[in-house]
């Protein structure tokens, strides 16, 4: 580890923190339906959209109505994306003549993009037409991100409102979020990325002759616009198979920093939106602080572990840390930081091969996802995932002050606990359950590239990433098979909707409750004590479940590696 390395990490944190307040203030206005700087341009468009869709913008929905609207919307999004993928060979904008996507891969890909996972069992440049990328995937990149933000806002309204039947309008939240937040930011970012050297073209691949005289096909396409929303919306689906490690998808150090910052920007700002909406910004900062503690701990472990390198390589005279699978342009710090950021948030873009990380370096990204991606998290998803943990933490510890536990004046009762536990339960069920299945079925065992604990880690990572809606891959795993396409799709769908629906139910239940005024007997939830409590509960309730699995994967690998033992590559 170097001082410069830590300086880079500090710079990243400072930029993210600096964005929290301005973005938070702007987004709060957007979701409250107030005038913003962009209103003169966007209000007519917004009105036109509502008129075209026959939506009454003033009509609010109950949590159930909100949830049903969201589900129907996603079902339609899934069907249309699936259709585009299956029919892309007959559709326009296919200069490379890509064939129709196979049914199981199309299913996996459609679920993947609808759920904001962007798990890619396909190679972008070798499988998809430009139309599939631009009209199939990109809208989902926007809409799945907007959905996450909308749901976080709906849950926040549950805390902010009292004795209310409704939690907002899904249609309005979705429209405003896309129109006022995602689109303007993406346009700016696209221009920035083009300046940094990313291609933005509808032309076919370029053929070039290399210095050695060999012919090389260089894939290009509308990259910059894809990358903008891929990061901002924590989608993570790369235009190229190599994702952010590809020079066209991540051309410069500055582009790398901006990409990392944009992964965290909206998620971090949502904590501020939360604080503003409940009328106490400190509440948002406390949540961000808990996220920050876990994030920095993760960065420290991964960075230290990568910087130390693997004993096997060090023994061969490589002492510069673990550079396997990393872009030389980014080096250890930027790769380690990127890995932690992308898995802490639900992004899944990668600028290095997580598979090649040291055992402990690879453990942190996995743990980040297993905790439910609540460390800043996916846009919106991180906040509502975190709030679920807040409810559990306060329910357990809040009793210790001798009152029925409450958060922000809302009593935490049977219904909230039930829904919170449901949301928490579905992750270990999918991550551990599907991994257990894959480690005994022949179809599952055919997947990993390595034997021993590392192969186990590859499988565990895949299902963890899917259920957490992350989408990053450990690589190494051959995922484009019937078995993995379907099981991963299941994991993604359950991991998304089995969290969203209970979170919405909590929103509805909380909104209907009265808000209790705070008193000396109320547990303050904006101080260090609360942050510590929250971190402890997240690690014990969320993390301990995965202890056996992690022990058999990365932990064993690390211990074995330290002892100089390696595991032979298997079939």
């Amino acid at each position: 580890m170097t001082l410069i390395g830590w300086f880079q990490i500090a710079l990243f944190c400072a930029v993210v923190l600096a964005l929290v307040k301005p973005l938070g203030a702007y987004m709060t206005r957007v979701f409250a339906g107030e005038r913003t700087i962009l209103s003169p341009v966007l209000v007519p468009i917004e009105r036109g959209l509502y008129r075209a869709a026959g939506i009454d913008a003033r009509h609010e929905q109950t949590w159930l109505g909100y949830g049903l609207a969201m589900l129907v919307f996603h079902a339609l999004g899934f069907v249309s994306l699936y259709a585009i993928l299956r029919l892309q060979d007959g559709l326009p904008l296919n200069p490379m003549g890509q064939a129709a996507v196979a049914p199981d891969l199309a299913l996996n890909t459609a679920v993947s993009f609808v759920t904001n996972t962007n798990w890619q069992n396909y190679g972008g440049e070798s499988t998809l037409s430009y139309l599939s990328q631009m009209l199939g995937l990109t809208p989902q990149n926007f809409l799945s991100a907007a959905t996450g933000l909308a749901l976080a806002v709906a849950l926040t309204r549950g805390f902010a409102r009292a004795s209310s039947r409704t939690v907002g309008s899904f249609w309005v939240d979705l429209t405003r979020c896309t129109l006022y937040v995602l689109l303007p930011l993406c346009i700016g970012l696209t221009l920035f990325y083009v300046w940094q050297g990313m291609p933005q073209t509808l032309g076919a691949s370029v053929d070039a002759t290399t210095l050695e005289g060999a012919r090389q096909t260089i894939a290009v396409g509308p990259v910059a616009s894809q990358v903008a929303i891929k990061m901002l919306g924590t989608n993570g689906g790369g235009f190229f198979n190599a994702n952010a490690a590809h020079p066209f998808e991540n051309p410069t150090a500055l582009a790398n920093l901006v990409q990392m910052v944009t992964i965290f920007a909206l998620g971090a700002a949502m904590t501020n939106v939360f604080g503003r909406m409940v009328g106490d910004e400190r509440q948002g900062w406390a949540i961000l602080a808990a996220m920050g503690v876990l994030f920095l701990a993760g960065v420290a472990v991964t960075y230290a572990s990568e910087a130390a390198g693997s004993p096997a390589l060090n023994g061969l005279g490589f002492s510069a840390g673990n550079m396997e699978g990393k872009e030389i342009r980014f080096g250890i710090v930027a790769s380690a930081l990127f890995a932690v950021v992308t898995t802490a948030a639900s992004c899944g873009a990668v600028n290095a091969m997580h598979d090649s990380f040291t055992a402990l370096g690879g453990l942190i990204p996995m743990l980040n996802m297993q905790l439910g991606e609540i460390i800043v998290g996916g846009v919106g998803a991180g906040l509502y995932g975190m709030l679920v943990f807040v409810l559990v933490a306060l329910f357990v510890a809040g009793l210790m002050v001798g009152r029925t536990p409450e958060y922000l004046g809302k009593k935490i009762e049977a219904k909230e606990v039930k829904m919170a536990m449901l949301a928490i339960l579905c992750l270990p069920l999918m991550m551990l359950g599907l991994t257990a299945l894959a480690t005994v079925l022949p179809a599952g065992l055919a997947g990993p590239a390595n034997a021993g604990p590392h192969g186990f880690s590859e499988i565990l990572y895949a299902f963890t990433s899917a259920a957490a809606n992350n989408g990053s891959a450990f690589a190494g795993l051959t995922g484009n098979t019937l078995f993995y396409n379907t099981t991963l799709a299941l994991g993604m769908a359950v991991g998304r909707f089995m969290v969203i629906v209970p979170a919405l139910a909590i929103a509805g239940s909380l909104a209907a409750k009265k808000t209790l005024p705070a008193s000396a007997g109320t547990l303050p939830t904006h101080g260090g004590l609360f942050v510590g409590l929250l971190v402890g509960v997240i690690l014990i309730v969320g993390g301990l479940t995965f202890f056996p699995a992690l022990a058999l994967g990365p932990v064993v690998e690390h211990l074995a590696g330290a002892a100089g033992q390696t595991f032979a590559a298997g079939g």
Partner: protein, 707 residues
């Protein structure tokens, strides 16, 4: 008849593990293994299912002579111990209530009732159990009141020792706030006609028995929520443990089922699962021993959540009677002179106010009560018309009373002495000095009223001497109690019939946060509704029929046992001692109950860290010897590690029974400080203690060659 109070009180400091309680509790521990009873507790039910399946497995192994029977046999034994310890905790808590219920039952005797048949007072003798609601019975001196009811005619003194333990008889009469009678109490003199309000089996005593026995115990809202959390955590660990065999198979090995069972049972929150119902029962029990009957567990929980406490001024905040605190003479009259006159006027006054004047005069001026018989005095009693009382002796007449009344009387006397008629009472012939005296008296009276006191004018022979300052005396220590409540985050509101000026002064002196002056029952109800509309929980106590709507509306309504039937029906707690100050203690008991639950839940969950470190390395050692590093406790062998973990898991239940039954102490220090302390003790303690405990057990297990 056994006074129950004596029984209740004799149990106020019971030893937790006294032989009389432990014996039956041990028997009950086995009886409670019945799965039909067990299913109420999800965590324990899962443990039982696992234990049964494991038993079958071990028996199967036994039949075929499987390996390591001593190890799996011991694990199995401790599985069942875990269940028995949990049952024992619950049985012990129930046992304490059962002993009380038995005593109550013995007090019920076969009662007969004189049921009225017509208007002429004719009655028939029927068994007490045949009475229905609405029946009217006559109860005469020496009779036991056959069932709960309301006096509709007559007045009688009643011995209620059976319920309250108070041996002094109380008056029960029709109308007013003292019309409720309780079945099983005895009429000592006179006769009353009672309308029965509770059929046999649902009387107050019946409810009391059911309550202390825990028979009518239903899970409270918070308990239900906690049970959901525990069930959810159990399910999480089902996933965590059930996926291990596949993982192990991938690593090329297998984990014995008995080891998986041990890991699962140690991980799920058995500690809090085992003690949860004991905590609830103990909470109710604490109230009972405090002579308060909570008619539902929900009410006890609500007590912990109370935000606003409505307290009646009289009897709760003040001593209930005004007392003389100062003599304020007019110019030209000495204080001693005024005191002497006031004392003389009060010698025959048996009201607390009158007695306090005598006492004050004696304390200040050494004026001793004189032998009135020797003075040939004649007393003038207080009447509502004259609003004065006094004494005539040796031709001297002394009057004391309401300021206006005394001034009016003095003026009339002066006018009469001058031979004028009444129409000239305010004529200029009235001397300047006299006008000044009246003005002075009025100024002093005003001053006293502003300070929250009551002025009492004293006149001798038609001449105003001055004023006695009567004051509501705030109970000693009550200010500190309110400060304590404020630190708990509870707002206190004083309810009084006084005018706002007086109320404000007393409120300031007592340190309450707010007051409701000139309060009518409607005002009280409106105040409660207003507080509740803000989401606050309100507690109050009351005894009169006009309190009933407010008692019913309040989240915690404590009815005084001396109160009316309506009040008792409306409240959700009954205070047998009829002491309104107890509301404060009731809140503390509610908080204690919630805290104990939270503390043990936190402890239970935090324990998992150490248990993982004990069991996991032992479990996976065969697959990957490298994982020995995780054996941070240095446990002797995989088998001893697993055995130690499950033994610790079972023994910690027993170790925590006293805490569960006694409760975690509540300190009014504010939520943040309280949480910091409890997190340190039960959170951090919960992480650290099992490391030490499992290590110690491992040493013992190894020394005894158990594994």
């Amino acid at each position: 008849m056994h006074p129950i109070r004596t029984i209740l009180m004799s149990r106020s400091t019971p030893s937790l593990f006294s032989a009389a309680l432990v014996g039956p509790a041990l028997r009950d521990a086995f009886r409670k293994l019945d799965p039909r009873a067990m299913v109420r507790n999800p965590v324990l039910f899962v443990v039982e299912v696992v234990a049964v399946l494991t038993t079958v497995l071990v028996l199967g192994d036994l039949a075929v002579g499987g390996a390591d029977l001593s190890f799996s046999g011991q694990i199995l034994l401790w599985l069942w111990f875990t269940l028995l310890f949990a049952n024992f905790a619950e049985a012990l808590a129930e046992g304490r209530g059962k002993a009380q219920a038995d005593s109550l039952r013995r007090t019920r005797t076969e009662m007969t009732a004189k049921r009225l048949t017509g208007r002429d007072g004719a009655y028939e003798i029927v068994p007490g159990t045949s009475l229905k609601r609405g029946d009217v019975v006559r109860v005469e001196a020496g009779d036991l009141i056959p069932s709960d009811g309301e006096v509709i005619a007559g007045v009688a003194s009643v011995n209620e020792a059976a319920i309250t333990g108070e041996s002094a008889p109380v008056i029960r009469e029709s109308g007013g706030d003292r019309s409720a009678v309780t079945g099983g109490t005895q009429v000592l003199s006179d006769a009353i006609t009672v309308r029965i309000t509770a059929a046999a089996g649902s009387t107050f005593v019946d409810r009391m028995i059911a309550l202390v026995e825990g028979a009518s115990r239903q899970k409270t809202p918070n308990e239900i929520a906690l049970n959901i959390l525990l069930a959810g955590l159990t399910l999480v660990f089902v996933f965590a443990v059930a996926s291990i065999p596949s993982f192990a198979a991938y690593a090329g090995g297998a984990i014995p089922v008995i080891v998986l069972v041990a890991l699962f049972v140690t991980l799920i929150p058995t500690t809090i699962g085992a003690l949860l119902s004991a905590i609830g029962i103990a909470g109710m029990d604490r109230l009972v021993r405090f002579n308060v009957l909570a008619l539902s567990g929900r009410a006890v929980e609500a007590a912990g959540d109370v935000d606003t406490l409505l307290l009646d001024k009289t009897g709760t905040i003040t001593l209930g009677n005004r007392q003389a605190t100062a003599f304020r003479p007019v110019q030209g009259v000495s204080e001693a002179d005024l005191a002497d006159a006031a004392q003389l006027a009060s010698l025959a006054d048996e009201t607390p106010e009158g007695r306090s004047i005598v006492v004050l005069a004696k304390e200040r001026y050494g004026l001793r009560a004189r032998d009135m018989a020797g003075l040939a005095a004649s007393f003038v009693p207080f009447t509502a018309q004259s609003r004065m009382s006094g004494v005539d002796l040796d031709g001297v007449s002394i009057r004391k009373g309401a300021v206006d009344a005394v001034i009016a009387a003095v003026t009339a006397q002066t006018v009469a002495a001058r031979g004028s008629n009444a129409a000239l009472a305010y004529a200029p012939s009235y001397t300047l000095a006299e006008t000044e005296t009246v003005a002075q008296v009025r100024v002093i009276a005003e001053e006293i009223a502003k300070a929250g006191g009551t002025p009492l004018a004293v006149a001798r022979d038609g001449r105003l001497l001055g004023i006695v300052h009567l004051k509501d005396v705030v109970k000693g220590g009550i200010r500190e109690r309110f400060a304590e409540l404020r630190r708990m985050g509870i707002r206190t509101v004083m309810i009084t019939g006084d005018n706002p000026l007086t109320a404000a002064a007393i409120a300031a002196e007592a340190g309450v946060d707010d007051f409701l002056a000139q309060a009518t029952p409607e005002d009280k109800l409106a105040l409660i509704r207003r507080e509740q509309a803000q989401g606050k929980l309100v507690a109050m106590c009351g005894d009169g029929t006009n309190d009933a709507p407010a008692l019913a509306q309040a989240d915690v309504g404590v009815a005084m046992n001396t109160g009316t039937v309506a009040a008792r029906e409306a409240g959700n707690m009954v205070d047998l001692d009829s002491d309104p100050t107890k509301l404060i203690e009731i809140v503390g008991i509610g908080k204690q109950l919630l805290m104990t639950r939270g503390a043990l839940t936190t402890f239970s969950i935090a324990n998992d860290v150490a248990k993982y470190f004990a069991v996991l390395p032992a479990m996976f050692l065969g697959l990957y010897p490298q994982l020995q590093v995780l054996n941070v406790m240095g446990l002797a062998s995989p088998q001893s590690a697993i055995l130690s973990a499950i033994i610790f898991n079972a023994l910690i239940i027993v170790a925590l029974i006293p805490l569960a039954l006694k409760g975690v102490r509540y300190r009014p220090v504010g939520a943040a400080a309280l949480l910091r302390r409890n997190l340190l003790v039960y959170g951090l303690g919960g992480v650290v203690v099992p490391f030490a405990g499992i290590k110690l057990i491992d040493l013992a297990v190894t020394a005894l060659h158990l594994a």
